[in-house]
């Protein structure tokens, strides 16, 4: 099985760092943003930022597949 490229893995790592590993840094009430405590606001923003990261990963993976050869994941 072809492994995912390093680039797309890095894209995938970004949400993990932001949402999971850095919990010490963002689990606080202040500063409130739009009246929402910071921890809630932070996690809600990553509902939108994660698709952005993964869209980057998607671009990398598809360009790699088409450049490589047409068997595998295409179609």
């Amino acid at each position: 099985m072809k492994r995912p490229s390093l680039g797309s893995l890095l894209f995938g790592l970004i949400p993990f760092v932001a949402v999971c590993f850095s919990v010490n840094l963002w689990d606080r009430v202040y500063p409130m943003v739009f009246g929402i405590p910071f921890n809630f606001f932070w996690l809600i923003s990553w509902l939108f930022l994660t698709p952005l990261c993964m869209w980057g990963a998607y671009r990398l993976e598809t360009s790699r597949t088409t450049a490589d050869r047409e068997d595998g994941g295409g179609r």
């Binding site: 893995l9 009246g35 921890n39 509902l47 994660t50």
Partner: protein, 487 residues
């Protein structure tokens, strides 16, 4: 109202059967022809369950900030799926796989391992089924203002689920989840915005009031003593890695038309999670509006009942009931197929035809349903706790799947030993009440042991590379007769 919504759902399920001849493959994986939209709906329908709605609201009410873990693992599990589902789908297409246990059986060339995986999967599904039943009972009880008792409600609802699983299989389920998603999504958005607005003048006002009244509720460990940062970190990690190891979600990837559909799906799915914070807002409002509930899982329904006219409670109740039923149907389908195809056929009756397998599966639907009904009537765990229990179990499949996809060195005895170790460790911690262990999620500790043992035993046993090359799609050479055991 509830009855009307449920009835529409049932009709759609039965209609979905038309135009499709129902053989085993059609019944379990929809003939492998679902495109982006249907896969998205199917996966969302399965993933946003009773537990997400009643359970998330309930934990926001009773535990506070630790509930953020639901918001955390939501996007991350899709990140994981981006990398593992397309290759799983690829193996599935090549070898006509229908279940998760099929994957283990083919990859590791071991019907015994397949049967073991099926057994563990079915056992882990029972608490998840129980969640749906409990949710259904809660909804009916609250929405009928106590007129319908929980016991008959559970039994009637599940008779209906079992019936529609029987008749229409996965395609019917997918279409019903279209209806319930539309209902649930609009209901969640409306309730999540309206309730804080009515009581506090808005979401900001709600948080301001909560910060004044209970500042500790909003940062971890919230209202608990042991669900702090390390618990959050390890639980989010365990759940997001293990999520697609649930047999029904794993198998749902086989319904896709291509691996690309799954990948695109993984990119956009986190957006659907926007309903989760809205549910949390309702739970947090309830902390101030309805203090002192003994069962937090009731907070959403009771808030709706207190705030809106009865017909609206009916809409929410109907959407909730459909959700519970769709989810339960998927779980029954997965559990029953696993049992019949990977446990009974290879272990007890190798000569069974596909038709006979399908019949055994249908009997198993009834057995599983009754088992979960009994548990739902006698157990009192919170919805989220039940779910975490099953999650820790299925997460133990992760090393076998991921190493199986991407590594040549992993061996059958290695995976077997790792899986058994992981399950034993998880059980030891959980049955002795040591989860979380010093603030660390026991499922993740078990997963660590599992990985370690899988690696060590794999290195100590000889690898069988010849077989490996034929199994995995990257080495797409000549493959003659490897899939015989499955077709």
């Amino acid at each position: 109202m509830i009855c009307g919504i449920v009835a529409v759902g049932a009709v759609v399920a039965f209609l979905a059967r038309y135009h499709h001849k129902m053989d085993l493959e059609q019944w379990t994986v929809g003939g492998r022809g679902f495109g982006l939209v249907l896969v998205w709906l199917l996966m969302a329908g399965e993933i946003y369950t009773t537990y997400t709605f009643l359970g998330a609201c309930g934990w926001a009410y009773s535990r506070g900030a630790p509930v953020l873990y639901i918001l955390g693992y939501g996007p991350l599990m899709y990140v994981v799926s981006f990398f593992i589902l397309p290759p799983i789908w690829e193996v599935g297409r090549k070898h006509k796989l229908q279940t998760q246990a099929d994957f283990f059986q083919v990859r590791y060339d071991s019907p015994l391992l397949g049967a073991f995986v099926a057994l563990v999967g079915v056992v882990c599904l029972v608490p998840y089924l129980q969640i749906q039943l409990t949710g259904l009972g809660l909804i009916t009880e609250v929405a009928s203002f106590g007129a319908i008792h929980r016991t008959p409600a559970i039994i009637i609802g599940f008779a209906l689920v079992a019936a529609f699983v029987f008749v229409s299989g996965v395609r019917g389920v997918a279409w019903v989840s279209v209806i319930k998603d539309l209902l649930l999504l609009s209901a969640a958005v409306f309730v999540g915005i309206a309730i804080p607005r009515i009581y506090f003048g808005g979401i900001g006002g709600m948080f301001a009031a909560l910060v004044r009244a209970k500042p500790n509720h909003l940062i971890m460990p919230g209202a608990t003593t042991n669900l702090g940062h390390s618990w959050y970190l390890t639980t989010v990690l365990m759940v997001s890695l293990g999520f697609y190891m649930w047999p029904q979600y794993f198998a749902a990837s086989f319904t896709a038309r291509s691996g690309k559909v799954l990948r695109r799906n993984a990119v956009i799915m986190p957006l659907y999670g926007i309903t989760v914070p809205l549910m949390l807002f309702v739970g947090l409002s309830a902390v101030l509006v309805l203090p002192g509930l003994s069962n937090g899982d009731l907070s959403l329904l009771l808030m709706v009942r207190k705030t809106f006219p009865p017909w609206f409670l009916g809409v929410i109740g109907g959407a909730g009931a459909l959700t519970a039923m769709v989810t339960a149907a998927i779980q029954l389908l997965a559990g029953a197929t696993l049992y019949a195809k990977n446990l009974v056929r290879p272990m007890l009756a190798p000569g069974m035809t596909d038709q006979q397998v399908a019949n055994v599966a249908k009997v198993m639907v009834l057995v599983l349903t009754s088992g979960a009904v009994v548990l739902a009537l006698y157990s009192s765990m919170s919805l989220v706790s039940l779910w975490l229990l099953g999650s820790a179990g299925v997460a133990q499949f992760f090393p076998g799947v991921v190493l199986g996809l991407f590594s040549r060195r992993v061996t059958t005895p290695g995976v077997f030993a790792g899986l058994v170790t992981g399950i034993v460790v998880a059980l030891l911690f959980m049955l002795t009440g040591r989860d979380p262990y010093h603030g660390v999620n026991a499922g993740l500790i078990a997963l660590g042991f599992n990985f370690g043992i899988t690696g060590v035993v794999s290195l100590l046993t000889p690898m069988r590379i010849a077989n490996f090359d034929e199994i995995l799609p990257a080495a797409a050479g000549s493959r003659s007769g490897t899939s015989v055991s499955l077709t």
